[in-house]
């Protein structure tokens, strides 16, 4: 009876371990769902909304819709990868392809897992009351914040649950041990209380092979994690600070075709690309007050900053001007000199090379990862593919090593800057000049782009 109760405790303990493992998997799954949100905003949100039909139909519960509609299994994933393939193989998809005029882009890069993550995320989105959204400007932003809080709150629930489970496991273990000791006392009559350490030592000695292998694995993984962590120091890829106004680059630069240089007008004249002052925003926004509720809400914030009272289609400036404090995204250390004018005007580098494709990025501006920028190279051959993380020195010099200063001929650059370097090189060091020309191209590095003092002085 006593032994069986000890076994029962062991069973409960094992059960707890299993649930802990399950919990960990579940939390990994919730991270997956968050990825779905990021994927949705980067790939789908231009045309789709979870609960509203836009350019594309609403996506909430779309899998159920396809299933009940009689679609073949898996054809929705085919559809996302390339809708034409799906329409060719599935009559339901064929029918869907006829309902709407605008053709959907193909997303061959999205696997089944990604698509499931996106659709899971979409299904989780609560349907917001449209009337509430059009209401007070502050009301809707509060709604969005509540959503965010829930997300971070969920993480805490997992942690608290894990702590509770671990406590139960330990408590049960303790009780079991006490029982065992008690039975041992009764049977032998001797008071024998090995400490936890002694118990552990005997156990470890018994299973020394596994313990040894286990600790080896743990030690190696700790070292690897440590080094990987050290490599992430000073890497700001993916940095995406919150901004006072949710400014969608995709609408301004993408849909409305406004050139980057319209707002960042000092990029061709100065070291800094410049953040536009509010009067530049108001050049258009005194007329454009937004159409969707979320746009109206954000533009209202801008009017508050500008001190502009919108009245119908016209407005009036009231002088209550508050400057906007934007959060700087691309921060270079002070010990490196970087000049936008030199890169954009003299070097002819496209903004995309470092800042990614903002015409398709509707989120807050972020530091694009090097993989994301490399993916743009297929569409735009001027983009140099790099391997090091963006905004690191390795990334800079890698590009200086690969980037040709011009398509073979040095004289096409109007600035005269490279002409001068070219002339000096030709006159003073003919051998080096010949060597540089061996591979048929002249890179930035070959004209001094790897000199330390070029950037550090």
């Amino acid at each position: 009876m006593k032994i069986s109760s000890s076994q029962m405790f062991r069973k409960i303990k094992n059960g707890c371990w299993t649930s802990l493992v399950v919990l960990m998997f579940a939390s990994a799954f919730s991270a997956n769902a968050q990825d779905g949100g990021a994927l949705f905003s980067s790939k789908c949100s231009n045309c789709h909304h979870p609960h509203k039909d836009g350019t594309g139909p609403k996506l909430s519960k779309v899998r159920e819709k396809w299933e009940t509609g009689g679609a073949k299994e898996g054809s929705i994933y085919k559809w996302v990868n390339n809708w034409q393939n799906a329409a060719a193989s599935d009559p339901y998809a064929m029918q869907v392809s006829k309902t709407k005029g605008t053709a959907m882009s193909a997303f061959p890069e999205l696997g089944k897992k990604d698509i499931d993550a996106i659709l899971d995320w979409v299904d989780e989105q609560p349907e917001q009351d449209a009337a509430a959204a059009t209401g007070a400007a502050d009301g809707t932003s509060a709604g969005a914040e509540i959503g965010k809080e829930e997300e971070s709150g969920l993480g805490w629930i997992w942690i608290i649950l894990a702590v509770i489970f671990v406590t139960i496991i330990l408590a049960l273990g303790g009780v079991r041990r006490q029982l065992k000791l008690a039975t041992g006392e009764q049977e032998t009559g001797k008071i024998e209380r090995p400490t936890y350490t002694e118990e552990f030592k005997t156990w470890a000695w018994k299973n020394r092979l596994y313990v040894g292998l286990g600790s080896l694995v743990i030690v190696i993984s700790v070292i690897v994690t440590l080094f990987l962590g050290l490599y992430r120091i000073g890497v700001v890829e993916g940095y995406q600070p919150a901004q006072p106004i949710k400014f969608p680059h995709a609408i301004h630069a993408g849909v409305n075709g406004i050139d980057c240089k319209y707002c960042h007008s000092s990029v061709t004249k100065s070291k800094s690309a410049g953040i536009p002052s509010v009067n530049v925003c108001m050049n258009c926004h005194k007329l454009v007050a937004g159409q969707k509720p979320e746009q109206i809400e954000q533009i209202k914030k801008l009017y508050n900053y500008a001190g502009w009272e919108m009245n119908g289609t016209d407005g009036k400036f009231n002088g209550n001007h508050k400057p906007i404090v934007w959060n700087k995204v691309h921060v270079l250390p002070d010990h490196v000199y970087f000049n936008h004018q030199q890169h954009v005007v003299v070097g002819g580098v496209d903004c995309k090379q470092c800042h990614g494709d903002m015409t398709k990025h509707s989120d807050a501006q972020k530091v694009w990862t090097v993989d994301e920028i490399n993916a743009l190279a297929d569409a735009d051959p001027t983009i140099v593919k790099l391997t090091k993380p963006t905004l690191t020195m390795g990334w800079c010099i890698e590009c200086h090593n690969k980037k040709e200063i011009s398509g073979g001929s040095l004289d096409t650059k109007k600035s005269g800057y490279y002409d001068e370097i070219h002339k000096r090189l030709k006159n003073h060091d003919r051998d080096l000049y010949e060597e540089y020309l061996k591979d048929g191209k002249v890179t930035v590095k070959e004209l001094g782009g790897w000199e330390c003092a070029k950037c550090h002085y």
């Binding site: 303790g174 890497v235 609408i251």
Partner: protein
């Protein structure tokens, strides 16, 4: 009791461990760790860097309260020693008139009581197109037009830019350049201070750039504008109302464009 203490220590370690693991998530709003923060933000002033927060220390006095500044009105940048060029880059002598009193960029500016727009008719473009510089000037003009104007005015200058096509701008009043009947001085005035629905662009473009744009816009009105024959004679026929010849010799028009 001793054992209990040990168990408690273990529990505490576990709590801390779980807490640390729980905080191990990538937060996009954090820029991550830096090796030497003092080298990242030195006392030397760089644009758009918040010096009110260095290594966690907050200094309310110097904390950033404004990200972007309008250039100080009538500030004069250094433009070299070429007097003709400096003359062109001197502050614009025309003032905004009463129609601009409610425009954000000119709030608090001196507003002229005169009809300055009408007076701007007399201004002539200080950048003279010749057979040599015409092509380069118009090419520069095209670049500027693409960056600064084309989203509303359209690539062909017909007022059908992507802003209008997408429906973001639902008003009217964007002119078709080919039928626009205003003098080049008035074009300059309109770009500098804005006109009707168009905003002021004086903070984004300098005077040389605006005059270059004026040349480019005139290309929309006259296909031969800026084209020269073999003898260097202009092929363009001056349209009535734009640069009248009588004004070319007007001394007032030459000063302080």
């Amino acid at each position: 009791m001793k054992m209990n203490k040990k168990a408690l220590t273990k529990l505490a370690t576990l709590f801390v461990g779980v807490f640390i693991l729980g905080s191990c998530s990538t937060d996009p709003t954090s820029p991550g760790y830096e090796y030497m923060p003092d080298m990242y933000r030195s006392p030397a002033i760089e644009p758009y860097v918040d010096y009110g927060e260095i290594r966690g220390r907050i200094n309310e006095d110097v904390k950033t309260k404004m990200s972007a500044l309008t250039p100080p009105s009538f500030a004069i940048p250094y433009y070299g020693k070429d007097s003709a060029y400096v003359q062109m880059m001197l502050p614009y002598r025309r003032m905004p008139d009463s129609t601009y009193a409610n425009v954000a960029a000119f709030y608090g500016w001196n507003i002229s009581k005169l009809n300055e727009y009408e007076m701007a008719k007399a201004d002539v473009n200080p950048i003279k197109l010749t057979a040599d510089n015409s092509e380069a000037t118009l090419k520069k003009g095209k670049e500027l037009f693409t960056a600064m104007c084309q989203h509303c005015h359209g690539e062909k200058g017909d007022g059908k830019g992507p802003m209008v096509v997408s429906g973001a701008y639902q008003g009217s009043g964007i002119p078709n350049y080919s039928t626009l009947q205003i003098a080049e001085g008035q074009m300059f005035y309109s770009i500098y201070y804005g006109k009707n629905k168009m905003g002021a662009h004086s903070s984004q473009l300098n005077k040389e750039e605006i005059w270059t744009l004026v040349h480019y816009i005139k290309r929309f009105q006259d296909k031969n504008y800026g084209k020269f024959d073999k003898d260097g004679k202009s092929l363009s026929i001056p349209a009535s109302g734009s640069t009248p010849d009588s004004l070319m010799t007007n001394s007032a028009a030459k000063v302080g464009m």
